[in-house]
């Protein structure tokens, strides 16, 4: 039994199943982070005083992380483009770079958390730190999830290239959409928490 439209797009929608699926998933993610950003606004508006992010958080490190994550989005696109051009070795290279940059992001993030913990700053410190740790932590989990998926497509999952190259290319594209979304969340998080 074959499920229709796993590799060929349905003419009316112009989409394969997985691509529609990931867009729907991202819509739900928008609602998740939308709710958390709204909570942030509500708590901040209700607070008598609110600390300025830049005075408590490490802006240079976060800037570095922003650059790392944006670069990883570029390499993610390059890996997909390589598959489109039937160049599997280049795909391996760029996908590997994407995973590596994701790990760098998490490492820097962990270093930043470590700095806070060593100064005795934990989520229970204040609502500001609670928001900071919760939102960046949840985002970090999303990065970790992306790394796991990408690693699968870099490693054993890439065997599919030999049997069903078109389907594998679609899979990498779908993983890419998720990766860009995670990147986008950070681009909202960075100014909201660190700069405002």
């Amino acid at each position: 039994m074959q499920i229709p439209h796993t590799t060929t797009a349905r003419p009316e929608t112009g989409l394969v199943n997985a691509k529609l699926g990931i867009w729907l998933f991202l819509a739900s993610e928008v609602m998740l982070f939308g709710a958390l950003f709204s909570s942030y606004i509500l708590l901040r508006v209700g607070a008598p005083v609110w600390p300025h992010g830049a005075e408590h958080l490490n802006v240079p490190l976060a800037t570095l992380n922003t650059i790392v994550l944006i670069t990883s989005s570029v390499t993610m696109v390059m890996s997909w483009a390589s598959l489109m051009m039937k160049n599997f070795d280049r795909y391996k290279l760029f996908m590997g770079l994407t995973i590596l940059l994701g790990l760098v992001f998490l490492f820097v993030k962990g270093f930043e958390y470590g700095g806070k913990f060593s100064h005795g700053l934990f989520p229970r410190e204040s609502t500001f730190f609670a928001i900071y740790f919760t939102l960046t932590g949840l985002h970090g989990l999303h990065v970790l999830g992306g790394i796991i998926v990408n690693s699968y497509f870099w490693g054993s999952g890439s065997k599919m290239w030999k049997t069903e190259p078109e389907r594998f290319t679609n899979r990498v594209e779908v993983a890419g959409l998720y990766w860009h979304f995670v990147d986008l969340i950070w681009i909202f998080l960075f100014p909201t928490i660190y700069l405002l």
Partner: protein
């Protein structure tokens, strides 16, 4: 006639599935029909369990501080010393009854079971778009259920802050609340995976010729429901994360400054907002109400069209009403919060949107009612349940209007009136429709029919008992009896005149249980011994009956169906039969 399939073909189709091992076929199954049946059994067990919790509570309400008979000694020394339940245990039962009925009983039955089994068949698809996600969705639901059930056995027992888990109470509650939050995260993941699957399947896998305006109303209902699940559940997931942080990491998202617990100031940073939880919770939970009711409307629409032998009246208006209703359900949540002091301007806004959302519900219900007009009605068991749904949901809906208007809500808020209102929507409303669906699609799942006599006993008993349970709640509520009293209101002077109803309601609840026994017997007997039927015993027009064998084999259809017409072409003038299936080509 191509669509008639011989039983040899059907047998061949079943034989085809036997290549799979037991585990692959029945446990970690990928076939949407098996997953649907897994959902059916699990959710029915949870419904019975949730109902049992309520039957125990009803003892305490009718006969406060008396020993619970029969099972009193089994409840545990901590929960019910000498068989008399303590208030903490009563609270656990209340919170878990709500949680189990909504998240583990009705939604998985309405969406997981019926949606999974029927939707791909009705749109002519071989399976769901993502069979593995479908399996993960079921097992995530199962884990959520296990987490919820096991929370009864941790120190302090299960969650006891109500099914709404309002902070600050829930933030400082016993460990059961943490289990509740983890359970919810599993359930949210399950419905997220499920809803993506349903939407993609409906959009991508429709058979050739099955345009959107030819979709059976049931499919439309499932589609809109899936969008609600997809977009409304994530905010609750966000809220659950924040509450977990409050409970595990000591943050104060929902804890205001200066909170005093048991005479001691709480040592937290403070600065949080209990109201924030209510906004996030009801942003989910109001669309959730429509998640509970829309699939029921879909089931009832199918059965009414089939048993009146005529097309649904106003099919297109019903579809547009459904879409509008889905959209509006995101804009009414704060009508649950009129009493929180959020301000009259906001109350006015939500009062207006609440009145607006009642319009599409009335459109759908009226269309279903008018559909009966002039039909040659077949009073089959599923039809009886579907017919009863109309006035029951009507009562539930109309009694909601005084709750949606802020001035009247001030009197009625948190009284038994509220309980009566939403139970009329969900119990005699949705649950009757779900029973209708079970009787209606049973022949498709098993190839056999359920017994009609037992079905009618089940129907009349259930209908009468449910009304005896929920109608007196309006009386108690109008008298001002609070919904959250451990003794049912004995200590309050204003409740004395209506207290005697507690005994009536409790008796009716236990009688309701007795009337479910014919159903349980009927269900299991009919699987083995029910009357064998052809693939289309109801002479229906939609694809699951007209194009697939009963039970459908792996892959559903022996030939890929093609659709030539709308879903409800019954009694078309000039045709020799009174039904024209969707896959029957026009005569040239």
């Amino acid at each position: 006639m191509e669509h008639v399939v011989t039983s040899e073909h059907a047998a061949h189709g079943i034989a085809h599935t036997e290549e799979l091992s037991f585990w692959r076929k029945y446990v970690f199954a990928l076939d949407h029909k098996v997953i649907g049946i897994q959902y059916l059994f699990t959710s029915l067990i949870f419904l019975l369990f949730g109902f049992t919790l309520m039957m125990i509570m009803r003892w305490q309400l009718a006969y406060p501080l008396e020993q619970v008979p029969i099972i009193g000694k089994l409840l545990g020394e901590a929960n019910a010393p000498e068989g008399i339940m303590v208030p903490e245990f009563y609270n656990q039962l209340g919170a878990m009854h709500g949680t189990i009925m909504v998240f583990l009983g009705i939604v998985p039955l309405a969406v997981g079971a019926f949606g999974n089994f029927v939707l791909p068949l009705q749109i002519g698809a071989p399976d769901m778009a993502f069979p593995k996600l479908n399996m993960m969705s079921y097992w995530s639901y199962f884990l959520g259920g296990v987490t919820m059930l096991s929370s009864f056995f941790v120190p302090g027992g299960a969650a006891n802050s109500g099914w709404t888990s309002y902070p600050p109470l829930s933030d400082i509650a016993t460990f059961g609340q943490t289990m509740w939050l983890f359970g919810m995260v599993f359930l949210i993941t399950s419905s997220l995976l499920g809803s993506i699957n349903f939407i993609v399947t409906t959009i991508q896998l429709r058979a050739k010729g099955l345009t959107f305006m030819r979709l059976p109303f049931f499919v439309w209902a499932q589609l809109v429901t899936s969008f609600l699940l997809l977009l409304a559940f994530p905010p609750l997931e966000g809220a659950a994360v924040l509450q977990l942080m409050d409970r595990l990491a000591g943050t104060s998202f929902f804890l205001p400054s200066g909170l005093v617990v048991a005479g001691q100031p709480l040592s937290v940073s403070g600065g949080g907002s209990p109201l924030l939880w209510q906004h996030l919770f009801w942003f989910l939970a109001h669309p959730e109400v429509y998640v509970l009711i829309l699939p029921a409307m879909g089931i009832v629409a199918e059965i009414i069209a089939n048993n009146t032998r005529k097309p649904l009246w106003g099919y297109k208006s019903m579809v547009y009403a459904l879409i509008f209703l889905g959209f509006m359900s995101f804009l009414v949540w704060a009508h649950h919060m009129f009493m929180t002091g959020m301000g009259t301007v906001i109350s006015t806004f939500f009062q207006a949107t609440t009145m607006i959302i009642s319009i599409p519900s009335v459109v759908i219900l009226s269309a279903l009612l008018v559909s009966l007009w002039g039909g040659s009605i077949r009073f089959t068991t599923p039809m009886l349940f579907a017919l009863a749904f109309l006035p029951m949901f009507g009562i539930g809906g109309l009694t909601g209007l005084p709750l949606g208007l802020a001035p009247t809500d001030i009197h009625l808020h948190d009284t038994y009136y509220v309980i009566g209102h939403f139970h009329y929507v969900v119990a005699p409303g949705t649950i009757l429709a779900l029973f209708a669906g079970i009787y209606y699609w049973f022949p498709k799942v098993t190839g056999r029919r359920m017994n009609d006599v037992l079905g009618k006993i089940h129907f009349w008993g259930t209908l009468v008992c449910m009304n005896l349970i929920f109608m007196p709640m309006f009386i108690q509520g109008l008298a001002g009896v609070s919904r959250r009293l451990y003794d049912g209101g004995q200590q309050y002077a204003h409740a004395q005149g209506v207290l005697h109803w507690n005994v009536v309601m409790s008796m009716a609840a236990w009688a309701l249980f007795l009337f479910q026994i014919p159903f349980i017997i009927n269900f299991f007997m009919s699987i083995r011994k029910g009357k064998r039927v052809s693939e289309n015993p109801w002479q229906a027009t939609t694809l699951e009956w007209a194009a697939a064998p009963s039970p459908p084999p792996h892959g559903n259809f022996l030939t890929t169906p093609e659709v030539y017409r709308g879903p409800y072409e019954y009694s078309v003038p000039g045709h020799e039969k009174d039904f024209t299936p969707q896959n029957e080509p026009d005569k040239v």
